[in-house]
């Protein structure tokens, strides 16, 4: 691993070859025709030389808007020498012989492509927060492809350089390339520029894109109006015409979408040696290919006319779009050790709570129509993942269908099934308790918040579901999902005779029927967990807002209640009316800080750093709290009286000691027996 990382870093340092991440990760070590197919598509070879790669078309960025997006000087430099200006760039050097004049002419030509009636000018950016942008950039999934940025340390600590086992897609010098406005617009709507989906769209708010752009540009300050706009080219008709000729000569239209009058005719491929594959080649585009890239392309060219099998086409498509940056498929891919710390989520769900699911057999797992919607940006079922599944536009238009063919499973249609039994099987009342860990529509689960189950009849293929339920770990090692049908044997033989197939079919039927929810969700509470002290006081420890974690609630039948400080000793809150709803304290996995159910809560100021020692209950159930102050033990009894509480404090009289006692502010306290040594009595009344 270390050695491999070192080699890759060395390769990165050379910075020579165009970076196709999928090739580098999965094909560079042992070049094959398959890897060559990926390159033939992703390096744009197919755009001149034709053929059917079976992969989504690779197109260069939209050029009609380039003069608005990118600064002139940068653009000219990039056109002259793409890989030097942007390490790893896929764009070949096509303007080798072009002089400075020609570059300026092309620039004028491209600027002239700008739509005449420009769309409404975007709203001026007012505010930018690069710090926030950094958080977003490093957590939304950008770093699955790009290198993590500065100034952000993931919660588990920063990875070591050696943990990065493949190169990141680098950036050009963004400051000389973009304005804040143009980079924001690109991040917000990348598919308008990269129509081929190679920079996919992560759904976000406009301000998110602005902040990310601010972070990447290291924008100084927070005033977006200080952005330096991109100078627009003052068009020169002669230069536009010269630029048009240069664009035709350079065959830009092979990869970029340009007007028909500059179209590039196909170039027949006559040999598998020399030409673009030759490093010293000067006639056409020059690619700085690595040895492995060259070898793979040669292997592919030898059988270029063979169609890719659906499986190969599907695998290579997932590599071309870099889906495998986040997802594993067939044991390959997924984030490397360097990027894993940037994948965060709900740690209660373990690894499944932070890493996107594997794509192994995905076309046989999800129903094609569901998968198509996932690719279109809908049907998100894992809201807990911080990384967001992006959209790829037209590039994934046929992907759901392709995956369905590539990953097809033996069809299974559940027969029969009893939706009543299914409902029971999913519930907590004698069932598998699915809702303990899984959401159901809008209802949170009872415990950890696993994926929603109410939609799985529309989402999952039946044969996959059956296999998964019998052995979840086979699909995803380390999953928290237990098997309730281990080795095909049901956990509950009392339902449907323990017949595994019938049970699973019944669960499916119940979900499909959309008729009610599994048993065991808490019902709307109508006071059935409310403690009503009827005959005796009731004591309950819990976490209480304003008192702390060591609080004791005491409810009195007389209707005025007490919260006591079980850490330092001393009363803390009093209120009247209802006492306390104990549902969360008694039955929730996730306790909260309880709040007395009253508008009017009176608080005692904290008296001293005493220490609580416990309490006794007398025959009537009244509590006597025990605590010490300055080494002197105090006892204080609370009793409910009409409209209030009676507090009696006693201690063994000690020289120079008088207890530190407080009373709620703004309350008249009836003091009784205050003069007596070793005893105080107070009456607190709430009117």
């Amino acid at each position: 691993m270390m050695a491999r990382a070192a080699i890759l870093l060395a390769a990165a340092a050379l910075g020579a070859e165009p970076l196709v991440t999928g090739f580098e990760r999965f094909h560079a070590a042992t070049p094959t025709a398959e890897g060559g197919r990926l390159l033939y598509n992703e390096l744009g070879c197919v755009n001149c030389h034709g053929g059917e790669t079976g992969l989504p078309a690779m197109r260069g960025p939209a050029l009609a808007s380039v003069s608005q997006r990118v600064r002139s000087e940068w653009l000219r430099k990039f056109m002259a020498d793409p890989t030097t200006v942007h390490a790893g760039a896929v764009m070949p050097q096509v303007l080798v012989k072009a002089d400075a004049q020609a570059l300026v002419a092309i620039e004028h030509y491209l600027a002239a492509l700008k739509p005449k009636a420009a769309a409404k000018a975007p709203a001026k950016i007012m505010h930018v927060n690069g710090g926030r942008g950094g958080e977003l950039f490093n957590t939304l999934g950008c770093v699955a492809c790009h290198a993590p940025g500065q100034g952000f340390v993931p919660p588990d600590g920063a990875p070591k350089a050696a943990d990065f086992t493949h190169r990141s897609i680098g950036f050009a010098d963004l400051k000389t390339k973009y304005s804040l406005e143009s980079l924001s617009a690109y991040i917000f709507e990348p598919l308008k520029v990269r129509t081929d989906g190679r920079m996919p769209k992560i759904a976000m708010e406009k301000q998110d894109a602005v902040d990310i752009a601010g972070y990447l540009l290291e924008f100084q300050g927070s005033d977006g109006r200080l952005d330096v706009a991109i100078d627009q080219v003052a068009l020169d008709v002669k230069r536009v015409a010269a630029g048009r000729k240069a664009v035709i000569t350079a065959r830009c239209a092979a990869c970029h979408d340009l007007p028909k009058d500059v179209a590039a005719a196909p170039v027949a491929l006559k040999k598998t040696e020399g030409g673009c594959l030759d490093a010293e080649h000067t006639k056409g585009p020059r690619y700085a290919l690595s040895g492995a890239q060259r070898a793979a392309l040669k292997l592919f060219l030898a059988k270029k006319d063979e169609a890719a099998s659906p499986k190969v086409a599907a695998d290579l498509t997932l590599q071309a779009l870099n889906c495998v940056a986040c997802h594993e498929r067939d044991g390959q891919g997924g984030p490397d050790a360097g990027r894993k710390p940037y994948f965060q989520g709900d740690h209660n769900l373990g690894d499944t709570g932070r890493y996107p699911p594997p794509l192994t057999g995905i076309g046989g797992k999800l129903r094609p129509e569901w998968l198509a919607k996932v690719l279109a940006g809908e049907n998100r079922v894992r809201p807990y993942l911080q990384v967001k599944m992006p959209q790829y536009g037209a590039a994934t238009a046929d992907l759901a269908k392709l995956l369905g063919i590539a990953d097809a499973r033996a069809a299974l249609k559940f027969e029969g099934g009893d939706d009543t039994a299914g409902r029971k099987l999913m519930g907590t009342q004698g069932g598998a308790g699915c809702i303990t860990c899984h959401r159901w529509g809008d209802r949170p689960s009872l415990g950890i918040q696993g994926p929603d189950l109410s939609n799985i009849a529309a989402r999952l293929q039946e044969s996959w579901l059956r296999e998964y339920l019998i052995n979840p770990a086979a699909y995803r090692a380390g999953t928290l999902m237990p098997s309730f049908w281990p080795a095909g044997k049901s956990f509950n033989p009392a339902i449907l005779g323990g017949d595994t197939d019938k049970q699973i079919a019944s669960i499916f039927k119940f979900i499909e029927s959309a008729n009610g929810e599994p048993e065991g969700f808490p019902q709307n509470r109508n006071g059935e967990y409310e403690i009503v002290p009827k005959d005796r006081p009731v004591v309950q420890r819990t976490f209480v807002e304003g008192v702390g974690v060591r609080a004791l609630l005491v409810g009195f039948p007389t209707g005025v209640h007490l919260a006591y400080d079980g850490e330092h000793g001393g009363p803390a809150l009093m209120w009247n009316g209802r006492f306390f709803d104990a549902y969360t304290t008694w039955f929730s996995r996730f306790p909260i800080f309880e709040k007395p159910p009253s508008e009017k809560i009176l608080a005692w100021p904290k008296s001293s750093d005493g220490r609580f020692l416990g309490y006794r209950l007398d025959a009537q159930g009244n509590p006597t709290f025990l605590y010490e102050q300055y080494g002197v033990k105090l006892e204080e009894t609370f009793e409910g009286i009409e409209h209030g509480l009676r507090r009696t404090i006693t201690w063994a009289p000690t020289p120079d000691f008088s207890p530190a006692l407080t009373h709620p502010e703004g309350m008249s306290v009836d003091v009784k027996e205050s003069s007596k040594q070793g005893r105080r009595v107070y009456i607190y009344l709430l009117k």
């Binding site: 415990g447 039955f587 996995r589 416990g614």
Partner: protein
């Protein structure tokens, strides 16, 4: 209900011919904790979180809701006729209970409390703070477990690391275990645990604890607790800097390396005495109970029984000391319980009380909670009773004489060894797996044991044995043919 239960029992083939499960009280479909008609005070949601025997021989049961019940009649022929009496209430999720003379000790989230009945009414009227001194943030996972008493009389309490909202593992002693001082103050002893839910001693009085697979815990471990030890989970390690800490780490906690390498990188890290491989031995260990029944629970006196939550089953552990450190093997034992098992306690008559609750996590048990009794029926199961490490292999000791011809055939045995990956990730795959060759298998003349000479032993690796082909002299198959030895050290002789 009864019929359903009998079926359930048959489904659990484990040790089913030698042990019988009886219901004392389990959730029925109509009386779950969240049933619509459930009201406070009506019905008893017996979500068992602590159990011990009172001075007068009844079973005291703490439940998660915050009550202690005294149960009478659990050892009767019909334990489902047992009677329940409320002893204490208003506690904050007590997760352990121990008898102490006439008193009961319970550990609530925020303190250990002594419950006393000074009036003889059979109801606690004193709730005295008996142990304190750890931070509680209000995070849902800030549990406290115990107490259990070791051979020196120390009361041990263990503290879960915080998770979720409010979590603050930098505050004192989350993920630590310690003893309660004379003044009631918590004295930290060991660090590096995650969900140290199950404390228990062996017959020598040494304290052990079973933790659960999760972040930094590649699979369920059993630790030998002793002063200064650091185990696995560093989330609460910040407390090491406090003056009361007996743990002093000489190097940063390593991460993302194979477990044996982690031990090299951090000398204070103590390997668990036992690893219980994930899924093969269940998922989340929850309690330990050492068998000391004079044979009334079968041929396993001195061995430890381990409760498990997800699969609702009980495993068995044999330990030995090698170079002064505990290590040993775990074996599957019996499943088919009603709910996620949280507490085990041996009874004076040699049966084992099994306390359960599945609230909040999933379990193969079909009930929300329950209390069951496991009793030995006198039929000796054919099992690998002990698996002992030897300089060149292992010795297997059986509960009954074996078929000597089979047991002497090396082809009857299959062994692999592997270790785990140490990182902040949730759990670990088995890594660096390698097969062990069985060089020879020599059966003792009495047929009670086999000496296996094994190639490729690796210290610190888990050695997994399968011996499905073995038969007893009477032709029975093994009750369970798999065993997992945590070979921290290879004995020199």
């Amino acid at each position: 209900m009864k019929a359903a239960f009998a079926l359930c029992f048959l489904a659990a083939s484990l040790s089913a011919t030698s042990y019988e499960i009886a219901d004392i009280l389990t959730a029925s479909t109509a009386a779950d904790t969240r049933a619509k008609d459930w009201k406070p005070g009506a019905g008893l949601a017996l979500e068992v979180s602590g159990m011990d025997w009172t001075a007068d021989g009844k079973l005291a049961v703490a439940i998660r809701k915050g009550e202690v019940w005294i149960v009478d009649g659990v050892l009767d022929a019909q334990p489902n006729k047992a009677t329940f009496k409320l002893f204490a209430s208003g506690l904050h999720e007590p997760l352990g209970l121990l008898s102490d003379g006439k008193d009961l000790l319970v550990t609530q989230r925020t303190e250990m409390t002594r419950l006393r009945d000074t009036t003889g009414a059979g109801v606690a009227n004193e709730y005295l703070t008996a142990g304190y001194g750890w931070n509680v943030s209000g995070a849902y996972h800030g549990y406290a477990y115990g107490p259990k008493r070791d051979g020196q009389g120390n009361l041990w309490v263990t503290l879960n690391v915080d998770m979720g909202d409010h979590a603050d593992n930098k505050a004192p002693w989350r993920g630590w275990g310690g003893i309660i001082g004379k003044d009631g103050k918590f004295i930290p002893m060991v660090a590096g645990m995650r969900s140290p839910c199950g404390l228990g001693t062996n017959l020598a009085g040494d304290m052990f604890c079973v933790d659960q697979q999760g972040t930094w815990i590649p699979t369920t471990p059993i630790y030998h607790l002793r002063k200064g030890a650091f185990f696995l989970n560093p989330e609460g390690v910040a407390s090491e800097k406090l003056s009361a800490s007996p743990v002093h780490l000489s190097a940063p906690v390593p991460s993302k390396i194979p477990y044996p390498d982690a031990l090299k990188a951090l000398p204070e890290m103590c390997p668990p005495a036992i690893w219980m491989p994930y899924n093969k031995m269940g998922r989340s260990g929850t309690d330990l109970a050492t068998c000391d029944t004079g044979g009334k629970f079968g041929p396993f006196d001195g061995q430890m029984f381990v409760a498990e939550f997800t699969d609702a089953k009980i495993s068995r552990v044999f330990m030995e000391k090698v170079d002064g450190e505990y290590q040993g093997a775990c074996f599957p034992f019996i499943g088919g319980f009603a709910s996620g098992i949280v507490r085990l306690r041996f009874a004076p008559d040699g049966s084992l009380m099994v306390g359960m609750t599945s609230r909040g996590w999933s379990s193969l048990g079909t009930k929300a909670y329950g209390l069951q009794r496991l009793r030995y029926n006198g039929t000796v199961p054919f099992a690998i009773k002990e698996m002992k490490a030897k300089p060149d292999g292992f010795e297997l000791v059986f509960t009954k004489p074996v078929d000597i011809a089979r047991a002497g055939d090396v082809a009857m045995y299959r062994m692999t060894n592997y270790t785990l990956f140490y990182s902040g990730a949730y759990g670990s795959d088995e890594i660096q797996s390698a097969a062990n060759g069985i060089v020879s298998a020599k059966v003792a003349a009495d047929g009670r044991s086999v000496r296996l000479k094994v190639g490729g032993l690796r210290p610190l690796y888990i050695h997994e044995l399968h011996a499905d082909g073995l038969r007893s002299a009477a032709g029975e198959a093994l009750d369970h043919a798999d065993a997992y030895y945590t070979l921290n050290r290879i004995p020199k002789n």
